[in-house]
Point group: C2
Chain length 152, copies 2
């Protein structure tokens, strides 16, 4: 249950209080069918613990969640006969439920799901590109979270 | 360098042989700007070691890669002033470079990137839903990769 007044639907599924097409449970995670799949077999993998979003997860929880999402994704590919998967996290924006969840979507070649990373653009100039890279590198130096990067 | 005759572009970037907007290097990973960003600040995080795709990565490499992608994503949000991120892996299908890479895309509310997980559908019946869940659960039991799930 989330700390807010509104009950968290993914906490309810994790607790077994709400019906869902659960495909796997581990000590730390639950995997179940998305109720509105992009394609049949579209699974959500969530931590049992209520964690609001990707940025709020600690490293250990995040690692375990992604390893489980990959394990489930392999099973999804065998189960529905797909060629691969799309594995994604909407971090805050486009995140419909404020409980961290990893989407595992079966993909087939020619399945028509081509719009999800479009349109793509190019940086107008190398200078513009380098300026953006420099801002991110500076934010990493200033961030103080995790090991300092080795600059090249 | 990949084992194939064709040089791997991400191995070349990791080795510093090819120019890219590198934002961070760690002992295991390199993060650099996607040359054709969805939005400026779109970063790819790759393992230095050549690993073809998500399914081919071992758990330790995968964990470190995702933790680094999250660290870089926090910096991207600060650097470009976004509200969140989209973090995704195209596993085999729609994977343009056969070297595992995590996309970290800055997102803003109302940025127009709404088509990437659409259209969504519902299962026609609960029975259809449950049949799909059962197939995935069976594939997990038969898979032999990782810890056996606890069924509910």
């Amino acid at each position: 249950m989330s700390a807010s007044a509104k009950p968290c639907v993914f906490c309810a599924i994790a607790a077994g209080e709400l019906s869902a097409g659960v495909v796997a449970r581990t000590a730390e995670t639950v995997a179940f069918l998305d109720q509105r799949p992009v394609f049949p077999g579209h699974v959500l993998v969530v931590p049992r613990a209520h964690v609001a979003d990707l940025d709020a997860a600690d490293d250990r929880l995040l690692s375990g969640l992604v390893v489980e999402a990959r394990r489930v994704g392999r099973a999804v590919q065998r189960a529905v006969g797909s060629d691969g998967t799309l594995v994604l996290v909407n971090n805050k924006v486009s995140q419909s439920v404020p409980h961290l969840h990893v989407h595992v979507v079966p993909r087939r070649r020619g399945d028509g799901l081509r719009g999800f990373l479009w349109p793509r653009h190019r940086y107008a100039t190398d200078g513009e590109r380098d300026a953006v890279a420099a801002r991110i590198a500076a934010a990493l130096r200033d961030g103080g979270d995790g090991v300092a990067p080795v600059e090249n």
